[in-house]
């Protein structure tokens, strides 16, 4: 029974914290209803006259998926880390296999460009590396300075 005491306590703490915050905001929060402006979405000071779009490109959903994959991976690492000492080499190899599997998923994502949101218009793909001195030219007074006509 005592094994479950910490879990039960953690559960109790969660409930208390949630209820507590609701209670506090109920007590301390302002009574009056928020004004129309406060409920309106903030658009840099402009009152939005067209309603926000409902359809979003699928790319944003992909990012959520990628996050979930790696979040789950971390969640499994926690219990593993607790008993890492007892399960010695076997445990280590086990978690390595798990990590490699998730990493393969990551490589697949990178390969078909889920994360490369680069601008559609790339000036020069193979642009030579340059420094702030190499990219400029200095035109002194004596060199011919007639403007290059269009």
């Amino acid at each position: 029974m005592d094994q479950y005491l910490p879990i039960f306590l953690l559960f109790l703490l969660g409930i208390l914290f949630a209820a507590g915050s609701f209670l506090a905001s109920g007590l301390l929060g302002p009574r009056k209803k928020p004004s129309a402006a406060k409920t309106a979405p903030y658009e840099c000071g402009i009152v939005p006259d067209r309603e926000p779009p409902t359809r979003f490109p699928v790319r944003f959903y992909l990012v959520a998926m990628i996050f979930i994959i790696f979040d789950i991976e971390i969640v499994f690492l926690y219990p593993w880390a607790v008993i890492f000492r007892q399960i010695r080499v076997f445990g280590f190899v086990e978690v390595l296999v798990f990590a490699v599997v998730v990493f393969v998923a990551f490589l697949y994502l990178i390969s078909n460009g889920a994360l490369s949101w680069g601008p559609a218009k790339r000036l020069h793909e193979g642009m030579p590396p340059r420094t702030s001195d190499s990219t400029i030219a200095r035109i002194s007074a004596d060199s011919p300075t007639s403007g290059r006509a269009a």
Partner: protein, 186 residues
């Protein structure tokens, strides 16, 4: 140890004083830089005149997280409704510093384009004179605001600033901000 030996400290402070102390030491300004005063406001935020000594170095971009609106610059007729909208979207308690003469009274631009004084649109707490106010003037205005918070009432807005607020204080006929587009010459 008699009562007279009690120093005024955390244990003996009233809750209201503590709340006011917390409020005035972390007033976060909203970035409302309009014109030349905005440059001086930025240099107040930078290293030389550092306002992070007063817990204000974080310039919150969105009004949801800002407590103070420093109207830094001249407010044009086109900008007035935007200013009013950002002010309405700020969370209570909120204060307004009208920085510079252009914001306070229209300054040297007494013409069709400038709202002659931002207090026709939003209730102003502290006016900072100067064109642009030197960083020291703005720091002085901020300290005046701290003093006002310390001595002001904890929930209600200070007197005389009910313009556009919810209910005007007794005995003072509110000159409700005439159309947010003020004096639109035809």
């Amino acid at each position: 140890m008699g009562l007279e030996d009690l120093q005024h400290n955390f244990l003996t402070g009233r809750l209201e004083d503590l709340v006011k102390w917390a409020r005035r030491n972390s007033v976060w300004p909203a970035t409302f830089g309009l014109a030349c005063c905005a440059i001086e406001m930025m240099s107040v935020g930078a290293a030389d005149y550092d306002i992070s000594r007063m817990g204000m170095e974080v310039f919150r971009a969105s009004p949801r997280q800002a407590d103070l609106m420093i109207v830094a610059g001249r407010v044009s007729q086109k900008m007035a409704p935007v200013l009013r909208q950002v002010y309405d979207q700020m969370m209570e308690p909120k204060w307004v510093i009208s920085m510079g003469v252009c914001a306070s009274t229209g300054g040297m631009f007494n013409n069709y384009a400038i709202v002659q004084g931002v207090d026709q649109i939003v209730p102003v707490d502290v006016y900072a004179p100067g064109c642009p106010p030197s960083p020291e003037t703005l720091l002085h205005a901020i300290l005046t605001l701290h003093e006002k918070i310390r001595t002001g009432h904890i929930a209600r807005r200070p007197e005389g600033a009910a313009v556009g607020g919810d209910r005007p204080p007794a005995g003072w006929v509110p000159q409700a901000p005439d159309a947010v587009r003020v004096a639109t010459p035809r």
